[in-house]
């Protein structure tokens, strides 16, 4: 009987928190939204170094490093209004070895129901050539190892690992923003993608802190539009072939689900 009473109380709490999801939005109401990036390999969770996986070229591999920039984030509401995250707060580096880096906390987001996010995998060309005063946080060349000093620019996506296919390490350091001038024009591996939340929505309120989960499937880096063989291409950095890998990583992120949890 006592248990039943507790359940009843819980039910009321849950019901009331659910109803607050659809509560009226107050003028200038703001909240936060967290984008969580869960790195996986097919249907398995990614475990650095010890996890052993197989790509579609039947090559067994382990991943020792996985890092990528997510930047220039835009959100869209269910009624198609766009909110652009202020640019200076819109550069993140997801690092599989640093758990906190996998949660991108967006602050001061206008309260609304959001069901689409757009972002860049990499760093936009303007920031790639910007003054050193604009290179703070993850863009600071002292803060990360995601900057090429000899060919000034950021490494957008870095994956390193080992494979029995080569009895050695493989290195994929993918960057290239198009070049700093017309006579230094190169390929552009900046990928901007939009992800829709299906029928779900992230209800940003001052009282609710939604968290949207995304799966980042590194297997698709190998098994994409181009089948990437570790044996044939153990090291890809600033080269024309990098375009194939960038095309592959443009579709490695997919929507998972949203938690609309009340503010703690």
């Amino acid at each position: 009987m006592k248990n039943l009473y507790i359940y009843l109380v819980l039910l009321i709490i849950v019901a009331s928190s659910c109803s607050s999801n659809d509560s009226e939005i107050k003028p200038n109401e703001k909240g936060t939204l967290t984008l969580h990036f869960d790195n996986v390999v097919g249907d398995k969770d990614l475990t650095l170094t010890s996890g052993v996986y197989t790509n579609s070229s039947s090559e067994s591999f382990s991943v020792t490093t996985l890092k990528y920039f997510i930047s220039n984030i835009k959100l869209k509401t269910t009624d198609n209004k766009e909110f652009v995250v202020p640019q200076d707060s819109s550069y993140f580096l997801v690092d599989e070895s640093v758990e906190e880096s996998q949660d991108l906390l967006l602050k001061d987001i206008p309260a609304a129901d959001y069901n689409e996010v757009t972002f860049t995998i990499g760093v936009d060309s303007a920031r790639s050539v910007s003054d050193v005063s604009k290179r703070k946080g993850v863009l600071d060349p002292a803060e990360t190892d995601m900057y090429w000093s000899w060919n000034s620019g950021y490494i957008f996506f870095k994956m390193e690992g080992t494979s029995t296919a080569i009895d050695d390490s493989f290195y994929y350091h993918i960057g290239g923003y198009g070049g700093y001038s017309s006579d230094a024009k190169t390929f552009n591996n900046i990928k901007t993608i939009s992800i829709h939340f299906g029928g779900d929505k992230a209800t940003v309120r001052s009282t609710i802190e939604p968290e949207a989960h995304f799966y980042v499937d590194v297997l698709k880096v190998f098994n994409g539009e181009t089948t990437l063989s570790i044996k044939d291409h153990p090291m890809v950095m600033f080269s024309d072939y990098s375009v194939n890998i960038a095309t592959n990583y443009a579709s490695i992120i997919e929507y998972g689900h949203v938690h609309n949890d009340p503010k703690k």
Partner: protein
């Protein structure tokens, strides 16, 4: 009259206070009147005396390298116009050899792109390359900042230069730039002749100047004596693997192209070319006269019909070298403001 004086005082007072809060730049880049206009944006990084002095300390300090042994000044020596005299390529940390000849550091405020291949587009970002290069200083920027923060005098020096003792990437790089942009070489005998400052050139030197203007100035143009472009000057590249500009643009048409260096101070910057293959200026001129290879991307200026290179007699070469030596700027090479002893 009194009123006029009063108004004058007010105007002066307004001028003095108008820039409140922003430290007034105390140093100017001595831009010679015969030079084109400056490229470096001093608005975003005004040169101040304290910033310049901090930059000079950093430039000559091994603290930028992993084991404290290599400073910028190790391979960029003032007497050699901040190049590495006598070194085909330089030896960096652990005596490891680099792959390219250390270029002189002078007149950088007029440069758009840095390194032999132009891989860096902003002087403020340039020092990151040698600091992190495994055969040069082999250090991480993050560790350099930590060492500076824990140093007994650098926090004060940063305070004096930037208004607080915070040490970060931006301030480190901007201080180095403040020192480097003031390294202006424009007081050679040629400059004083050109500006009518009482200098006289000999008839051989004048003939050499005329020859340079006719035969060299398409690439070594303006009084910077470079057009800052990237060109293939017909070096024998058959066994070479340094592809120059190609590494940056990945364009076949850029393979084996390197930046046109200035002719200023070349008397003291031997050896020559990106890989230091020519020991002296005679060998350089012999190359242009007789040694130009018909590379795929050879600069069209070095191929007139079927004739490769530049036609030069023995006398021409001697006069060109006589002229080139008038571009040596002794004042710059000895200026104590720039020297390690002043640091």
């Amino acid at each position: 009259m009194r009123i006029l004086k009063f108004i004058g005082c007010i105007i002066i007072a307004m001028l003095l206070t108008c820039c409140d809060g922003e430290p007034e730049p105390e140093m100017r880049i001595d831009a010679p009147v015969n030079f084109p206009s400056i490229t470096y944006n001093t608005q975003k990084n005004p040169v101040t005396t304290k910033g310049f002095e901090l930059g000079r300390s950093l430039f000559y300090d091994g603290i930028l390298s992993r084991d404290g042994t290599i400073s910028c000044g190790s391979c960029h020596q003032q007497g050699a116009a901040f190049s590495h005299r006598g070194h085909i390529v330089s030896h960096g940390i652990d005596d490891k050899l680099g792959t390219r000849n250390a270029p002189p550091i002078m007149n950088l405020a007029w440069q758009k792109y840095f390194l032999w291949d132009g891989g860096v587009h902003d002087l403020d970002l340039q020092p990151v390359a040698p600091i992190q290069n495994p055969v040069e200083m082999d250090e991480k920027l993050e560790r350099v900042l930590d060492k500076l923060r824990n140093h007994e005098s650098y926090p004060d020096k940063f305070d004096q230069a930037f208004g607080s003792n915070e040490i970060n990437t931006e301030r480190l790089l901007k201080a180095l730039s403040q020192f480097m942009v003031t390294l202006v070489s424009g007081n050679s005998r040629y400059d004083k002749y050109k500006r009518g400052e009482g200098e006289v050139l000999t008839s051989d030197e004048i003939e050499g100047l005329n020859l340079v203007q006719q035969k060299c100035a398409s690439c070594h143009s303006t009084d910077l004596f470079t057009d800052l472009s990237f060109r293939d000057n017909g070096l024998d590249e058959t066994t070479k693997t340094d592809y120059g500009r190609y590494a940056i643009t990945l364009k076949e048409t850029d393979r084996f192209k390197f930046k046109v260096p200035s002719l200023r101070n070349v008397e003291v910057t031997a050896p020559y070319m990106h890989d230091g293959r020519f020991r002296n200026l005679d060998m350089v001129l012999d190359h242009y006269a007789e040694g130009v290879h018909n590379n795929a991307n050879l600069d069209p200026l070095l191929k007139q019909g079927d004739v490769l290179g530049i036609s030069l007699t023995k006398d021409d070469k001697a006069r060109i070298i006589a002229f080139i030596k008038t571009l040596t700027d002794r004042q710059f090479l000895r200026d104590t403001r720039f020297s390690e002893a002043s640091k």
